[in-house]
Assembly symmetry: C2
Homo-oligomer: 714 residues x 2
């Protein structure tokens, strides 16, 4: 009799903290996964009971085997399934009947292997859900819980990682194997390890919610190849990162190309920028490589988030100190001078040959006593947030003594809320000497690597301190009018998607209080001249066409016209150029615009991510956008803080602030523009693409003017 489906979070408990496990497909045959996995559970001395299930054998690894899970006398919390794909649904059905709560399916041959497999996976999920069972996999390598009360290694890896406060979820089984091997060598302590395989049921999102409440977990590491439900991921991650850091490696950065480039904004938006925006807005720490993943994990699992970026480097050799200082500066960390007190006290016990500017080079003569004294001073120095301590084992000093000195000082740093990391160069006396005790100080193979990890931790620290922002209510929006414009346009044409005509664009932007340049359409040279007269010189003439996208490239933009005669000539010129390339019938006329010159140009846009929804773009205009990619995307909806940060995050932001004595631009108005665009997208989901390009930014208190705008509806 199928049970009711159980609520999400609690239902991972039987999976990750089972008291009894059935290994279905446990095998007596050496070299098989079924044998290895069962052995691993036994070998790790699982703190519960494990039953081998196999109809073809009576004993596995000296343990009585049962023909089916239904034959097991006791209760079964978790079933680990390693049987051929064709019979998985059969044993899962039996698990349901038995009252099993969680299932890990190691077997492959499901969604990863074509149509037949997809069908098998759907059936499997249906059965599991009908019994309220949660399911990890299929096509995964299993799960680990290092809790000493549990000691569960339900994987086929022979490595049981060190106990620690890091939870790790991986979408690649292969990478999972590799990571487990590294954890041992790099002293990375795990709480839980889950290889999620095909994610038929349990997803990264489920795991995040579990780990959020898991007292054994302080840091969450994820290896992601894709997001199941990115919106949900964003929401859940955002709720967790204020208390537990999430570090993610997201692969496939470069393999995914940019999407079909209908709009300018769309062409700039790759899957990559969407992912970047998602991580940034949710406070997820992103790394590019496994090495960086381990580095930051090592730092965060034992040390406080740095309270600032001021680093002191303490070394017994100049070269490594300078290299580390270089790496710190390259990552935006600061190497401040020390307080007078620290300086004078350092000088009182260090040799004259020592260097007292940051890095402090105590010279090869420095022993444990010098390290200890110097560290004590640095722990107290208010000018310092982080200390990197480097030790090169010279002949006359015992690494063990230095390690002990560092270990001993650890708690003083923690008390002061300061971050302390070490590097014992050359691997001897490295991590093991500092590891696995209270006040653990992470030890890196190369001191330069510390810089990257610290910089990432600092960025996370900034994110924690940052005001969360609100989605403000905006005045002066005529939502009804805007809806009518959109509705009317969609009614006029059956084409989808549909580029909105110029008049509608102006109407739509106007309804959202977005300022567009003064302009009038004209279909003849005479009309153009009249329009120019009304608007006032100088004017610009721009091709009016719903089909020509890059107007400049067909000679469709002529600027800086000061006379009636020039307007007439320009009109003819635009037409003739189109004639010469055989596109004259695409010309609907021209737009006569008030000429704006000398202002800074920016681009604001909207495009759609297939799973994250609308992305909003801000960038410095023209070449800055095109060649330097000086742009930023954020996921809609924007908070006031998002809008502020977007504008300030582009490299050429200084241009807006007033470059070389120029008057500052109206940054405030730009922020409001971004928020208005976000509001418009919120109200009108029919808007799938939008380019405001260029937007001329006027001087402070003068606002901005949208010079060209395109809107696509769907």
């Amino acid at each position: 009799m199928p049970q009711e489906k159980v609520a999400t979070i609690d239902s991972l408990e039987p999976l990750l903290k089972p008291r009894s496990i059935a290994v279905i497909g446990a095998s007596q045959k050496h070299g098989t996964i079924g044998n290895k996995l069962f052995h691993n559970i036994l070998h790790q001395e699982f703190n519960g009971v494990v039953y081998p299930v196999n109809p073809n054998t009576r004993v596995v690894a000296s343990v009585k085997a049962y023909p089916s899970v239904l034959d097991i006398p006791g209760n079964v919390d978790l079933a680990v399934v390693i049987v051929p794909a064709e019979i998985v649904h059969h044993v899962v059905e039996q698990c349901g009947q038995k009252g099993v709560r969680g299932i890990v399916i190691i077997s492959s041959g499901f969604a990863e292997s074509g149509a037949e497999g997809i069908g098998r996976q759907e059936k499997l999920l249906e059965i599991a859900h009908s019994y309220g069972m949660r399911l990890v996999g299929p096509n995964c390598m299993g799960i680990i819980n290092t809790d000493p009360q549990l000691n569960m290694n339900a994987t086929f890896s022979s490595v049981f990682p060190p106990v620690g406060n890091i939870a790790l979820g991986t979408q690649s089984g292969a990478l999972g194997l590799a990571i487990l091997e590294y954890t041992q060598n790099l002293n990375i302590g795990l709480s839980t390890f889950v290889s999620i395989g095909n994610r038929a049921d349990v997803s990264n999102n489920d795991l995040l919610q579990y780990w959020e409440k898991d007292p054994a977990t302080d840091i969450i590491l994820l290896y992601l190849e894709s997001f199941g439900n990115p919106r949900k991921f964003a929401r859940i991650a955002r709720s967790i990162t204020p208390t537990k850091p999430i570090v993610a490696v997201k692969s496939g950065r470069t393999t995914a190309g940019s999407r079909a480039a209908t709009s300018h904004t769309g062409a700039l938006a790759t899957a990559e920028v969407a992912c970047e925006a998602l991580f940034a807005q949710a406070g997820v720490i992103r790394v590019d490589t496994l090495e960086e993943l381990f580095d930051i994990a090592n730092l965060l699992s034992h040390q406080p988030i740095p309270s600032g970026r001021r680093v002191a480097i303490l070394t017994n050799g100049g070269g490594p100190g300078i290299l580390t200082a270089d790496a710190c500066a390259a990552r935006g960390l600061e190497l401040p001078a020390f307080s007078d007190k620290t300086l004078s006290e350092l000088k009182s016990f260090l040799p004259r040959r020592a260097s007292f500017t940051n890095p402090i080079d105590m010279t090869a003569e420095a022993g444990a006593e010098e390290y200890s004294q110097a560290l004590k001073l640095l722990a107290q120095d208010k000018c310092i947030d982080i200390v990197i301590v480097i030790f090169i084992p010279p002949i006359l000093t015992q690494p063990e003594a230095i390690a002990a000195a560092i270990r001993e000082i650890g708690p003083q740093f923690r008390q002061q809320g300061k971050t302390l990391v070490a590097s014992f160069m050359g691997w001897r006396g490295a991590s093991t000497k500092l590891g696995w005790e209270k006040g653990y100080v992470p030890c890196f193979t190369f001191p330069e690597a510390t810089a990257g990890a610290i910089a990432r931790a600092c960025e996370y620290g900034d994110w924690l301190k940052r005001a969360k922002g609100v989605i403000p209510t905006i005045e002066g929006i005529d939502k009804q009018k805007a809806k009518q414009v959109v509705k009317a346009a969609l009614a006029r044409s059956a084409t989808r998607p549909l580029w909105l005509d110029t008049a509608s664009v102006i109407g739509l932007l106007g309804a959202y209080g977005i300022n567009t340049v003064q302009s009038k359409p004209a279909t003849t040279a005479a009309e153009a001249k009249k329009a120019a007269e009304e608007i006032g010189f100088p004017v610009a003439l721009k091709l009016l066409s719903d089909t020509v996208i890059h107007k400049t490239e067909v000679g469709g933009v002529i600027l800086d016209l000061n006379l009636q005669s020039e307007v007439e000539r320009a009109f003819t010129q635009i037409r003739q150029h189109l004639v010469s390339i055989g596109r004259e019938n695409e010309m609907q006329g021209v737009i006569v615009q008030k000429m704006m010159s000398g202002e800074i140009e920016v681009i604001v846009g909207v495009t759609q991510d297939p799973s994250l929804g609308p992305l909003i773009l801000f960038g410095m205009g023209g070449v800055y956008t095109e060649l330097f990619k000086d742009i930023i995307f954020r996921i809609h909806p924007l908070t006031d803080i998002d809008a502020k940060e977007m504008i300030r995050s582009v490299k050429a932001y200084q241009l807006l602030e007033g470059w070389r004595g120029a008057e500052p631009s109206d940054i405030n108005a730009l922020e409001k523009l971004l928020l208005r665009v976000s509001a418009m997208v919120e109200d009108l989901p029919q808007i799938v693409e939008l380019d405001l390009n260029p937007v001329k930014v006027l001087k402070r208190n003068n606002g901005y003017v949208v010079v060209d705008a395109r809107v696509m509806l769907a």
Copy 2:
């Protein structure tokens, strides 16, 4: 009787290949450097004879000691000195008398420790040179030669590195110790190791010349903190890099500030850009961290320079393959599709679940046979230059078998001139399994790290293939006239350095065939109007002043004047602005210039590096230079290839090529401009700073126009 000083290169032989060594200051006392060093030589079974020298003991480490080097019965090639600084000169004098050929001074207390030490070091050098002895140190950690015929560990490090083809010179003794430790753990094979300490005599340059001819050395690694004689370094390095790669870590990137910013170009030139230019022009491979140093060393010491950038990734797990592909793409490497032949053959033996796009994921089922077959195909595929093979040890495959397969295929890759690297993830069965045999395939801890090393090797490959260029003879230079201009200016004023007046600047540039904008000076509004009339409208007015550097910032530039009345108003405006800030007496008048608008602006400049001499700058003008630092420096003199490459290396180069359908600019003329500037600097060493800023680049075949120029003489 002092000997004649011996020629440079050969004289390092007795230092690095001695048959007999005296350790002066060898000590019986454990824990001392004198004891450790003597023990190291003995312990390594030095293939020659070693004598302890110590007047206070009869035996060191069971070996008869001599009171002084003069008491040694036999010949002594090399003396290693570990006695107090105060008596070093005394024992060195004795070494000279004894006929010792090379000396390594471990003792510190010389130039690194203040005035007294500097004096001691000078005296020391004098004595050594008077006997024609070469000297390493003082204040160093010694030298190693791994040649099995020699087996010399004359350092106080307990690590004797694996034998290999890499020579290593380090300016930091501390880093030397650390590096030796790493060599053992990372299987980096060295030929020679030299800690050069204070470089009183033997410098990096001497070592480069020695290693150039050393048959045991194929790759040279340097850790540099400063250049002794950078011009010599550049010349020597340039002659070596075509046959043996030089890899350098240069520290102090960020600690050295920019020099006194008299000119715009000077403000942009940091010690860092000079060093970057030096390395680039000499073909030296630069790395930032020790880890990168080892990675590239590992690659180059065993594999050919990649003949192209096309990488194939072969893996038994998807995740690591994708991460590596991401890292490759980020470093500008290509991941091409495979040839049809390769594809169809791969499909013939790999499981259907495998992925055949690049990366090839053979899935966890792949064994040695699959690795072997796939690698054979890739060795033959003409679309591929480099293969990265990744192995994650799953339960069912023996790493040893895979390692053997890779080892076996190595020679086939070498035959095809292809580069093969491996990563056995998780460290088990890593480098040791592939190492130290013929056809060695370097094995990286993390596969992503291979991307960085390969990219650097590719850049080096490009450099090898690049035409070396010539310094062309340039027509249309009136050297005599230019010399007169400079001479006259220097005669007119006693100030040094001296900013050249505007007329002289125009004369000087004219003499070198450099086109300046049509312009006339004017001291009154009336003169300015007359000048504008003669030049033709539109014009620009610019403040004429030898003291105001940033004219825009004092309102000293007014553009786009179309009428006489506008010229008059502009003149008054410039004067009034100066009055308002109390600098009216700095106004010598104005320059009336032909107005150039809409052209692309670049900057060309010259500044001096204290040790490398003139640096030549090219950059995209204005904001590109200022905010995006889109600039490049090269060391004078420029070859035709240098000039070409400088222009093409800036990010905004596409603007010059014709952006978005714009007509291309006259790039050819810009190249000539750079060469003319280089010729000018060659002929007139009095020019210490020069800014051509902005230079307006006209359309193809129309040249360029220098709009503003400043020249400083010294």
